[in-house]
Amino acid sequence: MEKKKIEVSELRVRYGNKPALNGVSFDVYENEILGIIGPAQSGKTTLLKVINRTLELTRGTTVEGTVKLDGEDVHTITDVYGLRRRIGMVLPLPVGLPLSIYDNVAFAPRTAGPRKKSELDNIVERCLKQAALWDEVKDRLDSLGTKLSGGQQQRLTIARALSHQPEILCLDEFSIAVDPVTTMRIEEVLKTLRTEMTILLVTNLVQQAKRLANRTAFFLNGALVEIDATDVIFSDNPANQSTYDYVNGNFG
């Protein structure tokens, strides 16, 4: 059996008194793409935020249960900034930082510690190539990242998430503000990245999970309804009727 990269067990999260996740348990294997689907407000984003511990930047949240990364509980890791750099995070809306394209990608490596210029040059080129953006921007690396088109900014965001060589890449509905052509290009990128890292793909497009994911998890109202091989989830008889309804678009 493959190695377990992330182990989530009995994870409960509340915002104030409002529950967002009610006791979720599952594993993520190394180098797989785990698709995470489910309607809005079902706790998908919250799950990602627990993994890289950015949830604790939101006030009034309580987390119970454990999330283990390579067998180590993330909440006992003292270097939370190092932990965050082990995980690449891509948010729904593209965010170019108000810096040059070069500085956008060099931001995380610089944050981690002083780097040589040549080293940074290599990182910037590698990441922009991996994110399929290099050819479009290689001649204007010093122009502002915020002035790129939405689709380009989302690829810049991915390049930035790759800049600190993460072991895990989390994508949260990355295609929500991106044109279909860019979406397909990014999907191609993810297919090549799966050999290097573990990918958690939260997606609003169930077909995207079907195209890319090895396994797919279906979340509903803060609960994990079902997690199984993507073929099974998208087959005519997944274990749960609501999974079938959601996947086939006759939900609610």
Partner: protein
């Protein structure tokens, strides 16, 4: 044309076809009825115009006093305004001469007070906006900021006398007066800085945190560089308040009359008292008989002019930085 004509075109469409190749006025009758103004339409248009003119008049009414004040002051001050007026001391018990001592005094008070209030205000605002959790302490501080901004300046003056002149033993001095002014401008600087920090989108901070940046790294590399124009504008606008107030400095460090070396910008010592434009204007307009007629007006023009100049600089800075806005 095998199909029977079952589609009834709306009359407007028919008429559009007609009018395109009609050169005489005859066919227009029909279409124009569609667009004739109804009584309701006319009333709407009149109301709309009336309301707009009303608001425009209010706007003029607001500008008018400003123009009148400046115009009147200039007219009255013209006889005394000169280079010399600015750089010589008042003479003959302030009945003649220039403005050097009060002018330099005001500069001292403004600069020293902002040197104190700007850093404290900006750093406090950074803490409140970027670090502080929502607990009773922050709520009290925020409440204090809002309310201190509304405290009358005479109250600040009393506090200044108690705290700086007497308790801290600074005596009546530039320092005591400046600190009093600093206390007065502090809440406004905190408020305007918070606003400038808030204008930097939250998504930038989240992106940085996701990249493993600490709060301070995020603030230093993203938040502050993009908020600095707003912060500076807020600070510069406090120059006019610090320069204009009389009450807070009257009992804490400003004197009615004092001569200093003309042309020496280091003529004041911050542990001594100084003159100030605002107080000087008050004195010569109300306390001293037989002042040369143009001098109070000249003093007012210098005060208003310097303040407007500084404010114009703030506006220019803001405009310049807005053209370089990064998102």
């Amino acid at each position: 044309m095998g199909k029977p004509d079952t589609v009834q075109y709306p009359s407007a469409m028919k008429n559009m076809n007609n009018t395109t190749h009609a050169t005489t006025g005859g066919t227009r009758d029909n279409s124009s009825t569609l667009f004739t103004e109804t009584a309701i339409g006319r009333r709407k248009r009149w109301t709309e115009n009336g309301v707009r003119i009303f608001f425009f008049l209010m706007c003029c009414l607001m500008i008018l006093p400003l123009l009148l004040i400046i115009g009147y002051l200039l007219y009255k001050a013209l006889p005394v305004l000169s280079f010399e007026f600015l750089f010589t001391n008042p003479k003959d018990n302030m009945r003649a001469g220039g403005l050097w001592a009060p002018f330099l005094g005001t500069i001292y008070l403004v600069v020293v007070s902002l040197l104190v209030s700007a850093p404290i205000g900006v750093f406090a605002a950074v803490y409140l906006n970027e670090y502080a959790r929502d607990n009773w302490f922050t709520r009290i501080v925020n409440l204090a900021v809002v309310n201190l901004a509304g405290v009358p300046s005479i109250v600040h003056a009393l506090f200044g006398v108690g705290a700086f002149v007497l308790f801290a033993g600074l005596g009546e001095s530039v320092l005591a007066a400046s600190l009093t002014l600093a206390i007065m401008t502090l809440p406004v600087i905190i408020a305007s800085t918070k606003e400038a920090l808030n204008a930097v989108p939250m998504s930038f901070r989240e992106a940085c945190w996701n990249l493993g940046a600490t709060r301070w790294q995020t603030i230093r590399r993203i938040v502050l560089p993009n908020a600095i124009s707003g912060i500076l504008t807020g600070v510069i606008l406090q120059v006019s308040r610090a320069a204009g107030e009389t009450a807070p400095i009257m009992f804490t460090g400003a004197v009615f009359y004092k001569t200093i070396a003309e042309g020496d910008v280091f003529a004041y010592n911050i542990t001594d008292q100084c003159m100030a434009l605002s107080l000087h204007l008050f004195t010569i307009s109300t306390q001293v008989p037989d002042v040369t007629e143009g001098i109070p007006y000249g003093t007012a023009i210098v005060l208003v002019g310097s303040v407007l100049l500084v404010n114009a600089a703030a506006i220019a800075l803001r405009v310049y930085l807005r053209t370089r806005k990064k998102w």
